[in-house]
Subunit: 360 residues, 2 copies
């Protein structure tokens, strides 16, 4: 048993770990490990947005283009593709890629064929929308959690291996305790989201993040379930999970949730797989903790998962959580509807308070 | 808004508060306050045990005797009386008294008529059982929590008033953060429960506690509910609460719960009132936290209370939580069945490990 915080990321604490020295968790879980050479990773969510079945084929062609680009030199070391329908009724396809270092990502991004494709006017004028949400947490700014040690999804796919069983889990606050930065930093948010264009006018809009936005990818994989487990998952767990996800998507704003997408793996022809995850952006880790720990919508899911775990050994649940400096985030929306992703809560420039004229 | 930890009990921290400096709770609650002259309080649970309706009258006469004793000089400043049936099928009546200082309690306890009554052989030989569970936390070893500011039940009844709205609540870990000792001490348990007699043989047994046993009194008062609220409470909340209480009583041992009693206020003639509480002893605050935060049985109650709160303004929920040094506890059982209170988990003296003879 060892700390979730890798040895080379440990430092003298100015903030206590919530779990005492003698805490022992009731069941084993593991975290992904990487060598000291990994100082930051890149998580790049590349999306295609469409509305109406008549645009489905074109959208999937767009998704395949994104994945083809992943195959170019310096592309991501791991990726997957998903579909979800958002609150505005649009369908969205996302290809997420993970890079083991920002330099490789930078070279990939700068490739003329990739840069030119994103910059092309056609992105802005066609029937599809496109977006890129790129974040690059330092090694001390993210954590992972897996109750298994093989075939790690998400960022685990570009790490070097797994830890021993870790100490910091099975209590509220353990997410924070697994992030190395929490040893010395409360990771408080500063500032707000601002947009460089006008989200309401569409076109090409870049959203500027602020310090300590938190992102969780929280996954469910029941693809190895036997028929009985499959039925159990779909009747006893998935409805509670969907309700929580819909709640966050539609009413999470006042709780500090900037965006919540409950996505399902699809193959490149659009066939759904039995794997889902949430991609959830929060104003801060605090806000994510508050919702997860106290909101009935999440506690119902939590109880469903806890109650089910023993009866359902093939269910693979996992998550990864990151926080970012403002400079480690890049959100770009091209021809997307104004409530897409972090656009919804971004303040447009030159916004004038009610009752104040621009001249005053 | 202010800290739950009163100014004169604040000290330089060696352990962080879980809530950050900028945390603001979503709704107001208050804690009881007392002057600096209060350095410790006494919580004395005095019980009468019986089995079978034919002993009910005698038992209530015993309860009235205990309450009459409360009325003697140096008696408690606040008290109440309850009934519960325990896991062994025995009925138990408890008169709990609260003293504002151990010296007054000490004088009361030493009164010849009180000391003689408890020491009398009749206590040991009749149809009734009797017990005393007396704990005396220092001012830095307990906390309270009330979403109201009038008529404080429990230990609040011997305090001097209430705080301003407090910061440390509505998050897991806030119970610990409200206990002043948590600023510098994790309050880890040391040692086990030991008995001076043989619980299985009955008679008079004293159980010796260990450092940092935790006691929670967690109360529910729906006596001011209108008929609709009354029905809501009894159909949507009470069944979940009862299930959690039964779980702890019957299966809490392996989770570190030494004793759990879900008691109902009764008047001195045995008429039940619409007020209940749990009296729950734990090996440590850690163990209590673990159950409350993660066990489905408690989370279901928590969700029921949270979901109900807005629709049920007259429901008064509150609690008080204490930890104790070994020397601040006294548990005595006279003619009680061997699973009464902390007797159940107490190790009898000279217990011989299996396969080892006393001579070896």
């Amino acid at each position: 048993m060892e700390s979730a915080i890798d040895t080379h990321l440990q430092c003298p604490r100015t903030l206590s770990r919530r779990a005492g020295e003698d805490y022992r968790p009731p069941f084993p879980v593991w975290v992904a490990r990487a060598g000291e050479d990994v100082t930051a990773v890149v998580m790049g969510y590349f999306g295609v947005q469409y509305r109406g079945e008549e645009h489905r084929e074109e959208a999937f062609a767009g998704l395949r283009h994104l994945v083809d680009d992943f195959g170019r030199p310096d592309g991501p070391g791991a990726w997957d593709t998903t579909h979800h329908r958002d609150a505005a009724g649009y369908d969205n396809l996302i290809a997420v890629g993970y890079w083991r270092d920002p330099e490789t990502y930078g070279r990939w991004l700068a490739r003329p064929e990739i840069a030119a494709w994103w910059d092309a006017d056609e992105r802005r004028t066609g029937d599809l929308g496109f977006f890129r949400e790129i974040v690059s947490p330092r090694a001390d700014q993210f954590e992972t959690l897996y109750p298994f040690t093989d075939r790690l999804p998400g960022v685990g796919g570009v790490m070097d291996g797994v830890s021993d069983e870790i100490e910091e889990h099975a209590y509220w606050g353990s997410m924070r305790d697994r992030i190395p930065l929490s040893q010395t930093d409360r990771m408080r948010p500063e500032g707000g989201l601002s947009a460089t264009g006008d989200p309401a006018l569409g076109g090409r809009v870049v959203v500027r993040g602020h310090d300590n936005i938190a992102l969780i990818r929280s996954g469910q994989d029941w693809s190895e379930a036997d028929p009985e487990e499959h039925a159990l998952y779909e009747t006893e767990v998935e409805p509670a999970l969907r309700e929580a996800m819909d709640f966050l998507r539609d009413r999470g704003q006042r709780l500090g949730c900037y965006s919540n997408r409950y996505v399902r793996y699809v193959d490149l022809d659009g066939r759904p797989l039995d794997k889902t995850y949430a991609i959830s952006h929060w104003r801060s880790l605090d806000k994510l903790e508050q919702w997860a720990e106290t909101h009935p919508s999440h506690l119902r899911v939590f109880v469903a998962f806890v109650s089910l775990a023993r009866r359902f050994p093939t269910l693979r649940l996992y998550h990864e959580v990151s926080v970012f400096d403002a400079s480690e985030q890049y959100y770009e929306y091209v021809n997307c509807h104004p409530a897409t992703g972090l656009l919804r809560d971004a303040e447009a420039p030159h916004e004038v308070p009610p009752g104040v004229t621009p001249a005053s």
